[in-house]
């Protein structure tokens, strides 16, 4: 294999690795955002009903809204952490791809 063929193959392998990993990261973030918006809307509607019937106080309602905001921070931290995990996995895969391609080419 010539040097040109080696780098072309490397680039193809890297492109394949990115093509597979990046949509996974994007889809995970979008899915999490959709789930959060859906749950938030349902919670707020239910709490408003509970407050209207007197089942919970206004102070309870305010507290629950703040609790929801704290939960949103934990969700964002989870998503940011899991994105790092995926990036680490991608970097590991790229390193293995490069090593594998070079070793194949050199014939080790």
């Amino acid at each position: 294999m010539t040097l040109t063929e080696l780098t072309d193959r490397l680039l193809e392998d890297l492109e394949a690795a990115f093509r597979e990993a990046l949509p996974q990261i994007r889809n995970a973030v979008l899915e999490s955002g959709r789930e959060f918006a859906h749950d938030m809307r349902h919670d707020l509607l239910r709490w408003q009903e509970l407050a209207a019937t007197g089942a919970i106080s206004k102070e309870d309602l305010r507290w629950l809204v703040q609790s929801r905001a704290d939960l949103a921070k934990l969700t964002a931290l989870r998503d940011a952490g899991l994105a790092r995990v995926r990036i680490d996995e991608l970097r590991g895969r790229i390193a293995r791809t490069i090593a594998g391609t070079v070793i194949d080419t050199v014939g080790l």
Partner: protein, 153 residues
């Protein structure tokens, strides 16, 4: 000095890429820890069970509250002591802070108001349960050593 022909450029590119990857291959987040995972699961069960009793006077459960506060603090300190573990540490910090509105805040409110209403407890339990799930999900999503692969879902 510039490499002008395509072959030299490719060679330089490949060398730079390999150098970059070799330098940057250290992980950016801590690996999975079974101890951290277990803290999350155990404390979720214990916290939800304790919250269930918040309709009763706080003084009747003061010892249990103190015990779980200590366990929560241990989980936070364990997370804080691990390298590259800022995300999990921040999660625990928010979770246990009495000024916030998850388990730490709930216990503080129970203490200051003496008793809480059933509908409020039920709604808080749902949020706190999900908050523990977020901590557990982050931990279980981390890269595992081979010895950890079969231990947890």
């Amino acid at each position: 000095m510039c490499a002008r022909n395509p072959t030299s450029r490719r060679l330089l590119f490949a060398a730079a890429l390999i150098a970059l990857l070799s330098a940057g291959c250290a992980p950016t987040i801590s690996p999975y820890s079974h101890v951290a995972y277990q803290y999350g699961v155990d404390l979720k069960v214990d916290a939800l069970r304790l919250m269930d009793d918040a309709e009763e006077p706080f003084t009747d459960h003061e010892r249990r509250v103190e015990r779980i506060r200590i366990e929560l603090q241990k989980a936070f300190e364990f997370a804080r002591g691990r390298p590259l573990n800022e995300h999990s540490t921040s999660q625990w910090k928010i979770m246990i802070d009495p000024e916030n509105h998850l388990i730490g805040g709930f216990l503080a409110r129970w203490e200051s108001e003496k008793q809480l209403s059933r509908p409020f407890i039920a709604e808080s339990q749902r949020l706190v349960a999900t908050a523990f799930d977020r901590i557990i999900q982050l931990e279980s999503g981390k890269i595992r050593a081979d010895s950890d692969r079969e231990e947890t879902p």
